[in-house]
Symmetry: C2
Subunit: 142 residues, 2 copies
DNA sequence: TGTTAATTCGCACATAATGCAGATCAGCAT
DNA sequence: ATGCTGATCTGCATTATGTGCGAATTAACA
């Protein structure tokens, strides 16, 4: 299983090929997202970006994240508490959320489509998103 | 399968037994929630309530919903878009969200715990919440 | 009926995210 | 290399959703 993520170089040509410009701000965010497994918030990325590029605007961070999401290069996660999180891993995967530390971890689930669901008549499900709530290893009380 | 919901009368004694008072505002909300399958927002309940009790405060609606959630008599749902929704059905159930009309429908899923998950080492999952994204019957193009 | 702590309500405040517009700049044509 | 032009950036205002607070009110009980 190879993670379904784009390198900054790939994102650069992706943006250019659609008439979007590639600015230093965007290149920085491409780099901060690449390989990022933390499911960061916009604020967290803004804080990181600000250290490397003082003066970058939070507005620009949001703008770029929205652009990436529109291109399908970023999953947008709405956890049950806290602000929106962004996931550069656009694999078909799910998440485990620790109710102690709040962190999100990737989870791969097999045969999700085999789930026997009794639901609304005529509803055509295109995808299932699963969030496992529990306690992560670090937060287990000894 | 009987829905795991409390009647207004049951909620009344539930509140009183914990030292919470039962006001006309709360009784109205108990009634508006009973059997309500729409997964309403606070604003939607406020609008309904306002017709029957002009002058009721949105603040009071939030207060009562939070109290019910604290008692475990209401599930709080954070859909991927839009504001918080409240679910008087506290069964172990899941949801199907129509990407056209945005409505949430109840879904019952068997053997969720049989899902083979490859996830973070040591994570102890207590519950899985599944959201099926798709298109509901009403929104299918003929 | 009186007491008292819980509740209601209106308003201020908080937080997350978007709308807007002038200054700036990336990408392209020349 | 230079200039053009629409996309972008930034700061600020604004929206959307919800919470904090406190004076006035009221449910529950003695
Ligand atoms: Mn992920
Ligand atoms: Mn439900
Ligand atoms: Zn944890
Ligand atoms: Zn629909």
């Amino acid at each position: 299983m190879v993670l379904d993520v784009r390198t900054p170089v790939e994102l650069t040509s992706d943006f250019r090929s659609r008439g979007l410009k590639v600015t230093p701000q965007r290149q920085l965010l491409f780099r901060l997202l690449y390989g990022n497994m933390t499911h960061p918030t916009a604020e967290a990325l803004f804080a990181q970006a600000s250290e490397l590029m003082p003066g970058i605007s939070l507005r620009t961070v949001y703008q770029t994240l929205n652009d990436l999401a529109a291109l399908g290069e970023l999953q947008v996660l709405h956890p049950s508490s806290g602000s929106t999180r962004f996931d550069p891993n656009v694999d078909d995967h799910h998440h485990a959320r620790c109710r102690t530390c709040g962190e999100l971890h990737d989870v791969y689930v097999d045969r999700v489509q085999d789930l026997a669901m009794r639901g609304p008549v005529g509803f055509v499900a295109e995808r299932a998103n699963i969030v496992f709530d529990g306690v992560c290893a670090d937060c287990q009380v000894g």
